[in-house]
Symmetry: C2
Subunit: 116 residues, 2 copies
């Protein structure tokens, strides 16, 4: 058996449909870091269209606002995350790390219990 590894992921659902997972986490981080959806898209090497669509889908099922957008004005506009989503992102990141760690631990127990 060569190079067998475990991977894990978690995501949060609202009313049974995906709300916050790894991909959206990256998107939101990029928006937070770059100050606008447009800059985030460039930073991620994705089209604005695509990033916008994903954020749109996210907000549609969100139980609270995700982004504060400003159209026009200085710099043409801007977007930033709401406090609520930033808090949730923090919790999400911690959960992900914990679950990931547990996955690695269980995998090691199952597959390397007999050390050579």
């Amino acid at each position: 058996m060569k190079e067998l590894r475990i991977r894990s992921k978690i995501w949060l659902e609202v009313d049974g449909q995906s709300f916050l997972g790894d991909g959206r986490y990256r998107l939101l981080s990029a928006v937070q870091h770059n100050g606008s959806i447009n800059a985030a898209a460039r930073d991620l090497g994705m089209s604005y269209r695509k990033v916008w669509a994903q954020l749109q889908a996210m907000e549609k099922s969100a139980p609270f606002p995700i982004l504060e957008r400003r159209v026009g004005g200085k710099g043409g506009g801007a977007s930033q995350l709401t406090d609520e989503i930033m808090v949730l992102m923090e919790q999400f990141q911690e959960l992900r790390n914990q679950v990931n760690k547990e996955a690695d631990r269980c995998f090691a127990a199952s597959f390397q219990e007999s050390k050579n």
Copy 2:
């Protein structure tokens, strides 16, 4: 905050590419239970083409044979799982349950730490 739930999944990778996850697990189970790829596809409500393609992709990256196929003959043919993959599926299922349980536990700790 309404109806926020955690979901988790795990999968096994060989040389960095997905090898066994939830979807393929279901496919393999259906093959095992139905005795042929064709019957499995019907059972799952999927087209034979699609099931076949996924199993094909799986075997391409597999470190050992997955299916024993028989073309022609009694009943037109048949397929069954190898012992190796059945052992791995067993381990996979256990891992999935353990990780899932841990995810639920961590989630509860993070989001319901203050019981009302």
